[in-house]
Structures are given as structure tokens and as C-alpha cells.
């Protein structure tokens, strides 16, 4: 499965879960939101977004549902499941542990 090279392994899942925790979105809207919230820093190629979403769906962390989008076309909307919420908490905790550890190390080098 292709992964964006500028994203740390596994963080794409976390980002998707976090974004979907706020509201149910379709694939296109997710890619827009991703750019928007990260101030354009985090870019996921449109192609690799979908395999990642499908994987989350197969894991049971998000569920999909077809409904009309804002321009009244049928679109597939993803939302978080209870399992997904738990997974998000776990991954977020892991992430903050990891990032604080890394920034700690980085600071050590500066001294």
C-alpha cells in the first residue's frame, strides 16, 4: 500500500481518525480538511487516501454510509465507530508519548 513519504509511518491513520472524530466526511472533503487544518504542511496524495480509509473501515474503526453531499450528489461519508474512538485515544496517547520523547531528545542535543 502506498504511503505518503513525508508522513511518519502510522500517523496517517491517526490523522484520519482525528478528522473523522470531529464530523462525518466524504473522501474529497477529508483531503481538503487535511490540508486546511495542517496549514498545508501535511499533504496526502489523493490516491493513497482511499486505501487508508478502506483499511480503517475493514478494521471496524470507521463506518461508511452513502448520503447526499452539500452539492446534492451521492457521496460516501465516513464516521468514527466506538471502536474507532477507542483506537483514536490509544493512538493519540502513543503519539504524544512518542513526540514528547523525540522533542526531549532533540532538546538534549541542543544543550
Amino acid at each position: 500500500m502506498s504511503k505518503p513519504t513525508d508522513l511518519v509511518q502510522g500517523t496517517l491513520d491517526l490523522l484520519l481518525l482525528k478528522i473523522l472524530a470531529l464530523e462525518a466526511l466524504n473522501g474529497f472533503a477529508i483531503s481538503q480538511r487535511m490540508k486546511q487544518v495542517s496549514g498545508g504542511v501535511l499533504q496526502v496524495s489523493d490516491g493513497s487516501l482511499y486505501p487508508a480509509l478502506h483499511k480503517l473501515e475493514q478494521e471496524g474503526w470507521i463506518k461508511a454510509e452513502w448520503r447526499p453531499s452539500e452539492n446534492n450528489r451521492r457521496a460516501k461519508f465516513y464516521s468514527l465507530t466506538r471502536l474507532g474512538r477507542r483506537q483514536l485515544e490509544r493512538e493519540a496517547a502513543d503519539w504524544s508519548r512518542l513526540s514528547s520523547a523525540i522533542s526531549h531528545v532533540v532538546k538534549l542535543e541542543e544543550v
Binding site: S2, H54, Q58, E59, G60, K63, R74, L83
Partner: protein, 899 residues
């Protein structure tokens, strides 16, 4: 957490499979939506629609790859491949129908046999007894110690039972019972039914409540008040048409009135009489139909050691009390009883607690496990045979495999293909096998000797099916993994380079086949030796009882009411009338009666000594007590050894006949004729002195045990109320049966005749358990031999096919047909001899495990081993002769051109 996960994913997976097109369409639509949105975005920024669309596609960088990645997340490929493998496997099996049919049939027979035998073992041995907390139920028996001698596991003395009930605190409840057979009067006729005297608390101990009425009270369990009866559901339905108002009604048992107080529920199970008694009377394989209060008689209530041991005692331990604690408690009381018995003279009793299930299942368990082991061996041979067939097939397929490997199939994928083909075979074989097992089990249960307990509870249930499933699956893995591993290691290059004709010549594969064929012969030898040993034992047991069988003799059992014929004069009158009428029937040569036929167990034992050779109580030899009428010995064919038999003219003389064994044991070196036997039987209330008039040959009480010491008293000393009339006829004894029945009915229609049998019937019932094991053993061994022959044939046939070229060369160089024949057959013999050697080596320790099934033969009987060797060598010669003959027909010219 896991469950929630599956709740989400299982519907998704199913959807991906079964609505594949729909799911694909959704994927397209989803991506299409994205592209359109993106295009619109670019258009809004000022691009032309065409440029915008291209830019949107470019952003996707590789639409198709991403689609495939999305599909991968659905994990449908694994299942897809699996289905492909299954379809391919089915095609492969279709292409060689001969192999498939043999594989499925042998598997079905193996799995069927295992399923049927396991369901017997499971229902009889593994299922617990149908009572609440069944593990707390024990049968109490007494071990009698005299000097160094121990006589273990006796039924109990009634007085001792009363003492335990008073003094042992380990038991929540303890109940005694003594089985009996009685006449149930039904208007103008009567039938024999079987019941038991039982303590009132038996039902509480077993945790059984009646479906109608009540069980008896403690007050009713007293002499003089014991005229209540509790009947089973089966008796209630069969004899009283399930009368809902039966409670309170009176029925006539043995010409006494009994009031029905309760009916037990249909689910109530009670062991048969012969299963509770360690030394049962053979033929007493009856179900209990009714219960009457125990109400011990005064002479039955006296604690004593070694006397009046007639009662089976069932106890329930208090919860938390272990068997050891209960036993210690019991032994303390037993020691006390032994101390207070004035006749003990150093002998003493100890208690013996046998778990109820063990008591019921008893000896059958060993036999059943041995049969299971036999079935397991058969299954193993089936697997080895299939492995060998699959290896042979795999040789033919090595090119196919090589091509697949060259095209990129992984080793696992190739192995999986083999496993799937194996599992397809066991699936078919297992299904067929379980179907066979249903029929097989019915035949097994019908053919099983009545001695085997709990036959009625046997069924194929979920556990049995699970067992069959596991056995099938394990078998599938076992026989396909070996050839599979070998094949998946095929070197693609090698196999492709070599031509079709010679790819079959892989040396190590050939060696593997040899080993497998040898293993089959070895396993088969073990089974054959075991089966032959039990078969020989049966024939020896039959030989011991041949004298009984070779006769025109009929035995008719009948019972006289204890009320209508309650006194000895009345009983004697009846016996004499009956005998007189039967003797006068045409075609009757001799007729007489006894209370117990040979081979029907040791009925009544007592101790005796002689006026001329007085012995202290505890040293008197024990002997079986039998009663006879003049004519009995002549009718059954037991020859006189010495002296004379009392005849009708000796009526009322106190005379007695001894068995040869008893005379030798009790009066070593003395002439017994004219000596006086002393018999002090409490039930008679007097001491008898009988003159010995004759000595008769020994007769067995069990088909496969040495004859017991026996004392025969003439009926005028005591006339039993249940007798077997033995009639020696001029013609077919069976044709006499109806006349005898009419005669009895004519005298008193209320006398039931529970059974008529010829001596052949008697012997065949006595050896039924042995015959059952032999039948199954021979079936197993026969099947195993067939498989071993098949395996050998396969190996030899293949090697001949491989060596066609070589044989052609040999023959063109002048080898004669005989040389070729010899060469091929010798190879088969060599293989089978190697297998035989291994088999014999395994059989020597293994046959020791079946010693309990043998009679008059050692588990390592050399003649048996030799016979099996010769038999298997002959089978091997035959199995290799057929391909050998084919080899001799090889035309050298054709063979040499054959490339």
C-alpha cells in the same frame, strides 16, 4: 472488544464476497466523486474542463494501483485463491476416479468404525451416571480376609449394613438392595418380572422423585408392613397401560397383594442386577421393573463376617467427605464387627468403596478401550495407505508441480494445494463414514452382548460428531502433509529437464513409498496377531464347553408362586406332577430339573464339612449349592464318576452328590462314598447330615472359568421355587418347546415360563462378550490386511511400471520370465518381511495389554505369531504376483522403444 470488532468486519467481508460487483461499483463511484469535485475545483481556478480533469487524475497518481490497494484491504484474495485451489483439487480428483473412490471408501470405513466405537465408549465409559452429583455415589462392598487370603469385593451382610447406617458418619445416605424375580399376575396368566427389595431412602440417595404418588416411608421398610411397591415407568406403561389412577391400586406379585404407592419418571435409570453385583448370576441381565421395601428378616439383620452376604449397598458420601475418609470410617466399624463376631476365628472384614459408575461399567471398560485402540490402528493404516497412494500420484504430477513452481507459485501455495486435496477426500470420507456409523452403531448395539452395561444410552451426539471431525481432519493432515512436503520441494529445473517417462524414478520418493508400505504391513501384523489371539481364545472356551453343546437338550425355566406354592410339600407336589407329565411326552428320553444350569453363574455358596472330617468353621471349603431331581444329570449329560445318583426310589433319604473337584478338595485321598456331609444353613434352621452316594463330573459356572466346587442336593431336601427343567429329546429339542409349554399351562396357567433354551443357546450366550470382541477384531484385521495388500500391490505395480525399460533390457539379454517373476515377487516379499519384523516387535509388548481377553493362550503364543507371518507373506506374494506377471509380458522390443 474482539466480538465488537467481528460485528463490524464480518458483514463487510461477507459483503465483499457475495456482492462483489456492488462493492466494486461503489469503489468506482467513490473515486469518481472525488475526481469530479477536484475537477470542479480546478475549473473554478480557471482551467479548461479538459485540463482540470487531467490535473485531477494526475493528483491521483495511478488510479488503478490505488483501486487494487483498496481491494487488498478487503482480503478477498486469500479466499479467492482458496476457492480456486478447491476447484482445481476437485478437478484433479475427478481425473483419477479409481484413486478417489478407493480413498473415499477406505476413509469412510475407517472413520465410520472409529465413530461407532467411540460413541459406544463415550456413552458407556465417559458419560456420567444420570443422578445429581454422581461422583458422590459409591457401591459398598466387603473384603474378607482370612490369614493371608483376601476375598475382595463381596456383596454385603444385612446386619453389617444396619451397623454402618447407625455408626458411619461419612454417608449422607446408605441403602441396601437385594434383587428378586417375581410373578406378576395378569388376570388368567402371569409373567415374570424383576425387581428389588430396597431401603426406603434409596430414592433420596439417587435424587429421584416419582412422577406419580410417592416412594416408601421408613415405617414401610419394616417386616410385616412391607406390602408397598413402586413401579418404573416402563412397567407401568407395559403392564398397566399407563393407568393414571394406578396409585393406591393393588397388584399381585408372587400371589401376594401389594399396593402401588408410586410410579418413577421415564428418565429414571437404574443399573441392571448383574451390574451391581461383582459375582452376578449369569443370565440375570434384567432391568429392574419395581421396588419393594427391604424389610430385613431377623436372620438377615445379624452382623456377621463371611455369612449371609446377599445385599448390594449404595451410599452417597456427604459433600466434602473424600473416599479415603469414608473408607477409614467404614473400616473402623468393620473392625468392630469382626471383633464381636464369635465365629470370626481370626478372619476379618474391611470395607471397599467402588464408584457407582465403575461398579456398573466394570470389566467392560477394558474391552471397550481395546476395541477403540483397534479402531485407531485401522484408521492409522488407512492414513498410511492413503499417504502411499498420494506419493504415487505425486510422482505422476511432479511436472505439473514444477510448471507451477516455475510460474511463481510459492512453496506454501503448492503445499496448500496438496492439503486441500487431502481435506477434500476426508470431507467426503468423513461424511460417508458418519452415515455408515449410524447404521454400524445400530448393528453393533444389536449384536452387543447383554453383559455390556448402559447399551440403551448409546447414541451419536455432538461430542461424537466432534470426535469424528477431529479424527477426519487429523487424518487428512497426516496423509497429505508427507507427500505434500515432498512435492513442494520439487526442483523445478530438474523436473522440467527430465522427460516424462523418467520423472517417476525419483529415488527418495521410491524409498518413502517402500517405508509406507512396510509400515502398513507392520500395523496390519499387530492387528492380525491381536485378532487371532482373541479368536483362538474363543475357540478354546468353546472347546471346554463342547460337551454341553453336542446334545439334543432343551431347558425350560419356570417359577412357582411363593404364595400358592408357599410350602415345601406343595412345591414338591408341583415338581413331581410336572416332571411326571413331561417324562411321559413322546420323544422325551430323560428329564430332570435343577435350580441353576451350568454356565449361569455361582448362585449360592456355602461352607461344608464331613462328620468323618470335622474342620473349624473358617477352614471349611466353600462350595456352590445346587438342587437336582433324579434324571437331571442324565438329561444334561454330566457323567457319574463314582457311586450312584439318588433315584426316585430314594425319596426322602438324606443323600448328596459331590462334584469331582469338591470331593478331591474336601476329602483328599479318601473315598467320599458313604461319608456324611454336614450342612448348617440358617434359612433351614436345622443341621443336615447327608450321605454321599455319588461323585459327578465338574461343570462350569462361567464359560471361561474353572468349574466351581459344587454340592448337589436332591429336591426332596429343599425344593427351589425357580427351576430349570432339562429335557433330553430324541429329535430337535426346539420342536418340544411348545408341547412342554402346553403341559405347564395345563397344570397351572399362572406359572410363567420366562425362558426356553437349547444348550447351544446357553453356551452362545455365555460366550457372547468374547464373540463380540472376536467379530470386531476379525473385521478390523481383515480390513487392515486388505489395505496392506493394496499398499504392497501399489508399490510393486509402480516399480514394475518404472522398470519396464530395464526389464526389457534384461529380457533381451536372455533373462527368462521366471527370473523376472522371481525378481519382482522377491521385492514384495522383502518389503513385507521388513514390515512384519517391525510389526512382531511391536506386537510383543502390545499383546500383553489384551491378556484379560485371552483364555488358555499366552499373549506371545509363537504359533499365532508364526501363522500371521505366513499369512502376511502369502498376501505379499499374491499382491506382488499380479504386477510381476505383467512384467513378464513385457515385449523387449516395445519396452526399449518406450521412451
Amino acid at each position: 472488544m474482539r466480538i465488537e470488532h467481528w460485528l463490524h468486519t464480518i458483514p463487510l467481508r461477507l459483503r465483499s464476497h457475495f456482492r462483489r460487483r456492488h462493492v466494486e461499483h461503489e469503489l468506482d463511484e467513490e473515486l469518481q466523486y472525488h475526481l469530479e469535485q477536484k475537477t470542479e475545483q480546478y475549473v473554478a481556478r480557471g482551467m479548461t474542463p479538459q485540463d482540470a480533469r487531467l490535473a485531477a487524475l494526475r493528483d491521483m497518481d495511478g488510479l488503478e494501483q490505488h483501486k487494487e490497494a483498496c481491494r487488498d484491504t478487503r482480503r478477498v484474495n486469500f479466499v479467492d485463491d482458496l476457492l480456486k485451489d478447491v476447484r482445481f483439487g476437485l478437478r484433479q480428483l475427478q481425473r483419477s476416479p479409481g484413486f478417489t473412490i478407493i480413498a473415499v471408501l477406505t476413509l469412510a470405513l475407517g472413520i465410520g468404525a472409529n465413530t461407532a466405537i467411540f460413541s459406544m465408549d463415550k456413552s458407556i465409559l465417559l458419560s456420567s451416571m444420570p443422578y445429581p452429583q454422581p461422583h458422590q455415589l459409591y457401591v459398598v462392598r466387603e473384603d474378607y480376609h482370612q490369614g493371608r487370603q483376601v476375598y475382595p469385593g463381596n456383596v454385603d451382610n444385612g446386619g453389617n449394613f444396619l451397623t454402618w447406617r447407625r455408626e458411619c458418619h461419612s454417608f449422607e445416605g446408605i441403602a441396601a438392595l437385594e434383587p428378586e424375580s417375581d410373578n406378576l399376575e395378569l388376570g388368567q396368566s402371569a409373567v415374570q418380572i424383576h425387581g428389588t427389595r430396597a431401603s426406603a431412602n434409596l430414592f433420596a440417595i439417587l435424587g429421584i422423585r416419582p412422577q406419580l404418588g410417592r416412594t416408601f416411608t421408613e415405617e414401610e421398610d419394616q417386616l410385616g408392613r412391607n406390602r408397598e411397591v413402586v413401579v418404573t415407568d416402563a412397567l407401568w406403561r407395559a403392564r398397566f397401560n399407563g393407568d393414571p389412577k394406578i396409585v393406591g391400586k393393588t397388584i399381585r406379585l408372587n400371589a401376594y397383594d401389594f399396593t402401588v404407592v408410586g410410579v418413577l419418571p421415564p428418565s429414571f435409570y437404574f443399573p441392571r442386577i448383574d451390574q451391581l453385583d461383582p459375582t452376578p448370576i449369569a443370565g440375570w441381565t434384567f432391568h429392574i421393573d419395581y421396588f419393594v421395601p427391604l424389610a430385613l428378616l431377623p436372620y438377615e439383620s445379624k452382623p456377621s463376617i463371611g455369612n449371609m452376604m446377599n445385599f448390594t449397598v449404595i451410599a452417597r458420601l456427604k459433600s466434602g467427605v473424600t473416599k479415603q475418609q469414608a473408607l477409614a470410617d467404614l473400616d473402623a466399624v468393620e473392625a468392630d464387627i469382626s471383633r464381636h463376631d464369635p465365629n470370626a476365628q481370626g478372619a476379618f472384614l474391611t470395607g471397599n468403596l467402588v464408584p457407582l459408575k465403575m461398579a456398573v461399567v466394570g470389566d467392560a471398560s477394558r474391552t471397550l478401550w481395546i476395541l477403540m485402540a483397534g479402531a485407531g490402528l485401522v484408521m492409522l493404516i488407512v492414513c498410511v495407505n492413503l499417504a502411499s497412494l498420494l506419493v504415487a500420484r505425486s510422482m505422476g504430477r511432479s511436472r505439473e508441480i514444477a510448471v507451477r513452481a516455475a510460474l511463481g507459485a510459492s512453496r506454501w501455495r503448492l503445499l496448500r494445494q496438496m492439503l486441500i486435496e487431502g481435506l477434500l477426500l476426508v470431507a467426503a470420507g468423513g461424511l460417508l463414514g458418519v452415515m455408515l456409523a449410524f447404521d454400524g452403531l445400530r448393528i453393533l448395539v444389536e449384536g452387543a452382548p447383554a453383559k455390556i452395561p448402559r447399551l440403551e444410552s448409546i447414541q451419536i451426539d455432538g461430542w461424537v460428531l466432534l470426535f469424528s471431525f477431529v479424527v477426519s481432519f487429523a487424518a487428512g493432515l497426516l496423509f497429505s502433509i508427507l507427500p505434500g512436503l515432498r512435492l513442494s520441494r520439487t526442483e523445478a529445473g530438474e523436473a522440467l529437464k527430465s522427460s516424462a517417462a523418467t520423472t517417476t524414478g525419483n529415488r527418495s520418493t521410491a524409498r518413502l513409498r517402500d517405508v509406507l508400505a512396510g509400515a502398513e504391513v507392520a500395523l496390519c501384523a499387530v492387528l492380525l496377531i491381536g485378532a487371532l489371539l482373541v479368536a483362538k481364545s474363543l475357540s478354546r472356551v468353546l472347546g471346554e464347553n463342547r460337551w454341553l453343546e453336542d446334545q439334543h437338550v432343551l431347558a425350560v425355566d419356570l417359577i412357582a408362586f411363593s404364595n400358592n406354592y408357599g410350602t415345601q410339600p406343595k412345591l414338591r407336589q408341583l415338581s413331581e406332577t410336572l416332571l411326571g407329565r413331561i417324562r411321559s411326552l413322546p420323544g422325551v428320553r430323560d428329564a430332570g430339573f435343577t435350580n441353576a444350569l451350568p454356565l449361569t453363574g455361582e448362585m449360592w455358596t456355602d461352607s461344608f464339612d464331613f462328620d468323618e472330617a470335622r474342620l473349624p468353621d473358617q477352614q471349611q471349603p466353600n462350595a456352590n449349592v445346587r438342587f437336582f431331581s433324579p434324571g437331571y444329570f442324565q438329561a444334561i449329560g454330566l457323567p457319574l464318576v463314582e457311586g450312584r445318583f439318588p433315584s426316585d426310589s430314594d425319596k426322602d433319604q438324606a443323600e448328596v452328590v459331590l462334584s469331582e473337584g469338591f470331593a478331591r478338595k474336601a476329602l483328599p485321598g479318601r473315598d467320599p462314598i458313604g461319608l456324611h456331609l454336614r450342612w448348617n444353613e440358617p434359612a433351614f434352621n436345622k443341621l443336615l447330615h447327608c450321605t454321599v452316594t455319588g461323585v459327578v463330573s465338574d461343570a462350569r459356572a462361567e464359560a471361561d472359568e474353572n468349574p466351581p466346587l459344587t454340592v448337589y442336593f436332591p429336591y426332596w431336601l429343599w425344593n427351589p421355587n425357580q427351576i430349570s427343567i432339562v429335557i433330553r429329546t430324541a429329535n430337535d429339542p426346539r420342536s418340544m418347546a411348545e408341547e412342554v409349554r402346553t403341559t405347564v399351562r395345563d397344570i397351572d396357567p399362572l406359572i410363567p415360563i420366562p425362558r426356553e433354551q437349547t444348550m447351544q443357546d446357553l453356551v452362545s450366550e455365555a460366550v457372547a462378550a468374547r464373540r463380540f470382541v472376536v467379530t470386531l477384531g476379525v473385521l478390523f484385521a481383515g480390513f487392515a490386511t486388505f489395505l496392506a495388500a493394496l499398499g504392497l500391490y501399489g508399490v510393486i505395480a509402480l516399480s514394475v511400471a518404472q522398470r519396464t525399460h530395464e526389464i526389457g533390457i534384461r529380457m533381451s539379454l536372455g533373462a527368462r520370465r521366471w527370473d523376472v517373476l522371481k525378481m519382482v515377487v522377491a521385492r514384495g516379499l522383502k518389503l513385507s518381511l521388513a514390515g512384519l519384523a517391525v510389526g512382531v516387535a511391536c506386537a510383543i509388548p502390545l499383546t500383553r495389554l489384551i491378556t484379560s481377553l485371552l483364555y488358555g493362550i499366552k499373549p506371545t503364543d509363537p504359533a499365532t505369531f508364526a501363522l500371521v507371518g505366513v499369512l502376511l507373506a502369502a498376501v505379499a506374494a499374491l499382491a506382488s504376483y499380479i504386477p510381476a506377471r505383467r512384467a513378464t509380458r513385457v515385449d523387449p522390443m516395445v519396452a526399449l522403444r518406450y521412451e
